[in-house]
Subunit: 304 residues, 4 copies
């Protein structure tokens, strides 16, 4: 069975199963999405793309964008970033303040909200027009100038983002936020509001499978070493408190978002992206997780 046949077959099989997940409630704008949307795309480092279902329809990539902002920040400040955010798994639900207070305002890793807020603070310190420049960076990775922020999502998240405001204030009290709180939150919500289709998402993340080099023009974005660093962070911290389960069942570095997207990276080979809005109890796409598990099982492509 070739890649396209496999995706089609897995898509059909899982589409018709009951979906035990639930759409995230806390961002009102996201609740408007049709919960039955389901798509999957595979993009190889040899630039071949395979898809099934709603894989060309855009959705809110949410926390998946934290990998992209981390990438830009690492390129701007290098190793110094690790003085302000760690690289270890959190072992806690993703929005807990406990550990952040215990560890004096240093988030455990850049994939949890507090860590991504520190990354935003770094971008603001280093960029003249952070929102504009971040979007330009993403468009370059995606080779697509239509990628954009969704202002409705930004407004919807801001109106209910009290926990994030608590995080950023707590870190400010520990002097680990240097800029104005409102500006940090504004950039954070913009970054999370980016919309992509599964196919665009795979394409954008292809550099992590390709040693840090864009496949469409051979431009190096990250050193090999930094690419490994980011893949390692995704492996250990990318799936909230389900990283262990994902490592076993899917066996690839990956990152999920509350919008129902998950992207996974096979170093040297491919990226695979899925979208299905209903989430399991740990906050990851229920059907998305399933199709990734079956894909890497069928193709025997776990890295372990």
């Amino acid at each position: 069975m070739n890649h396209q046949e496999l995706l089609d077959s897995l898509y059909q099989k899982i589409k018709n199963k009951p979906d035990k997940g639930k759409v995230a409630k806390y961002i009102p704008e996201l609740k408007k999405i049709n919960p039955d949307k389901f798509g999957v795309n595979l993009f190889t480092t040899t630039c071949k793309s395979y898809g099934a279902g709603d894989y060309q329809e855009r959705f809110s990539i949410q926390s998946i964008a934290k990998v992209l902002s981390l990438t830009l920040a690492i390129n701007l400040v290098g190793k110094k970033i690790w003085n302000r955010v760690g690289v270890e798994p959190s072992g806690d639900p993703f929005n807990s303040l406990v550990q952040l207070e215990f560890e004096k305002g240093i988030p455990r890793n850049p994939m949890i909200n507090s860590g991504a807020l520190v990354v935003c603070d770094i971008l603001i310190s280093k960029l003249k027009e952070p929102k504009k420049e971040f979007l330009a960076f993403v468009r370059k990775l995606a080779n697509n100038n239509t990628i954009a922020y969704n202002k409705k999502i930004v407004a919807s998240e801001k109106a209910f983002g009290f926990k994030n405001t608590a995080h950023v204030n707590l870190m400010k009290s520990f002097k680990n936020i240097k800029n104005e709180i409102d500006e940090v939150l504004d950039l954070y919500y913009h970054i999370c509001s980016i919309e992509m289709s599964c196919e665009e998402l795979s394409k954008t993340f292809l550099l992590y499978a390709n040693g840090g080099v864009l496949t469409h023009n051979n431009e190096r974005i990250l050193t090999v070493s930094r690419t490994k660093r980011i893949n390692a962070i995704m492996q250990l911290c990318g799936l909230y408190d389900e990283a262990g389960e994902f490592s076993f069942k899917v066996g690839l570095p990956g990152k999920s978002g509350v919008g129902g997207g998950i992207v996974a990276v096979h170093p040297g080979k491919y990226c695979i992206s899925v979208w299905s809005p209903k989430l399991n109890k740990k906050g990851n796409s229920y059907k998305g997780f399933q199709i990734l598990e079956q894909f890497t099982t069928e193709t025997e492509s776990s890295i372990f």
Copy 2:
């Protein structure tokens, strides 16, 4: 030795001892105060006043004002207040977010910052002009129309109050704050900025020693039962994480503030107030604690 002689004698004795305390650092405006200020005042329910040192000079009463805002809130909403804030000691440093998160946004008591913020939220919901009406209430208790907010202190606290902003946002995320966050914080900082002298402070707190009735005009402000409730809360929660030590050494319900003030209440008999800006490791006035301890020891007036 009568009361005046005793206060004079204790004042002299403790004034000349080395002060191991340190002025609080985190509110810049408070650091401008002369750290050697030291005063004490005793006010009896029979309306006799005795003082020594700087007992007629005003200082920032800070957290002591939390007792007054609690009093007003209890009168406005009655028992329902206990659905939104507890009455048990916290067992934690006074600004910890851990317990608040664990207990889903319900602060353990109204003497810690988070609890006082909920009380402010209640005042805003119930009063048309909360700042004006709260000040009028305090002036009535004090029988003194010159009591006022200090706007410089308000501004200074707001500029560095990131932990309080974190608290109030966390509680908002649990729906235990109903009003706008900025309005809640604004009222909170105004309440904490009230200035009184030791003598004015004793006079204002006399109602808690007098069964809820103002001594100057016999107006009942609180029921007997609510007066006991507030005294019990001061006993268990009024001295941050030093309530046990204070209960043993002073043996009276009391409340301290970061400005270096402490007020203690002997039900049926008197109020005693002290002011000395340098704080011990638990955040309570170093010399203030000492003079209270020696006063209740000499007069054998512990309630235990």
Copy 3:
């Protein structure tokens, strides 16, 4: 209404109300007790005793005995005891290990299990025959040589006391337990197994109401200062996580046990003891709490 009439009247009134409490499950031997037992006794410092219901039937005083072991330990080592156990409320459920680990093996106060275990360790270090000598001490306070340990209760608690074993091992790892773990636990369970009737319990605790002096022979057991210390500890830490509620509703220092007993002390005046095996959600006797609340309300004898 005199004391006897008041106790009779309150006893009748509360006896006939539905009991919303539940008997503690975790000590099998205690589950054999008739859950409808209910007694109350008042003992004045003038040596008058009043009782109603099952006030002369013995029950397992359990944690109430922690006050007695603390008393003996303070007399043996003085102030040094406070290097190994604190005096502040815990703010946590009574059997939590979290705070103990955070505070490096120093329990917050001697009324929680870990604190009482440290007290046992001190008794073992200072006494030749700890079990025998402790019992002799209690018999002296009670003026009653029939007070005894209940070996069945000891065995029943040992068989299920895994949390206590965890506590004592954790403290040993922080070097805050000096003796053999098994010996510490053996003494602890013996102390908790003491049985008294309400009347015997009131009589035994009378010294705390009487400034440290036994009423039956005027022997001084504690200094006035240490008596106040113990009363302050009971006030702040004696009712697990319900100390604030008890301070308001009853308004006296007190100590409860999982066997359904509560004793409260009015300094200078009396002791009052209650027994009813069904416990409220915080682990304190449901009807016992109620009768104490109504008694101090009727007699206006809150210390606040």
Copy 4:
């Protein structure tokens, strides 16, 4: 440069650098080891072995043995093991009780002490002679009948293992330990006391690099799926609170022990073992970590 030359070169380079690590203090018997010992061994799935330094001298493998006991337990009870121990990183120092209490006695993963104690409990329930049968299992994997427990190490650890006793009692209170506590601890300390050389360790772990099959006789020990599961657990949880750093710098699943050993697995290719007793701040061999990092960098064999 071939494998042997590379190992020799890295060994010389790192041997002569200053060692910033410190030997673990809490197991007295381990302090007797010469802290300058240093060895490394590479064993390929094609059964070629390369070594440098003290790679044929045995040392206490300590926590590394947790992978072997997990392997045996999975084979005995299958998936049911995950009802009693999780697969997620802990995000906490490896001996913390906090999370264990919060999560009701279910350890986060089988690599932390509490998780390994649950695994021991399972072995006791399923095996007639657990110590004997476990050792036989390890000897089979190692193809070496001289592998043995070190009784002195067992005794030394038992005498100071108060935290482990606390863990196992806490879990027993949550009913997640079924057998006698002393028996569980005895098996645990025996397992940790196993001694191997680097070469024996690599050989023993070769099955995880070889899809679950022993290389010396082609016997299948684990299914492919369970092998991946164990590798994923090592990747996320094998290096205490340094898993993220190890994933980036070494880029392989691995497991460390307090005796100064670390083993890492490259699925499909090889195992590499190191030994150097001085530990970094996170409790992992200082020089061991360095030589692994440089080896995978030189050979470009990170899985990311």
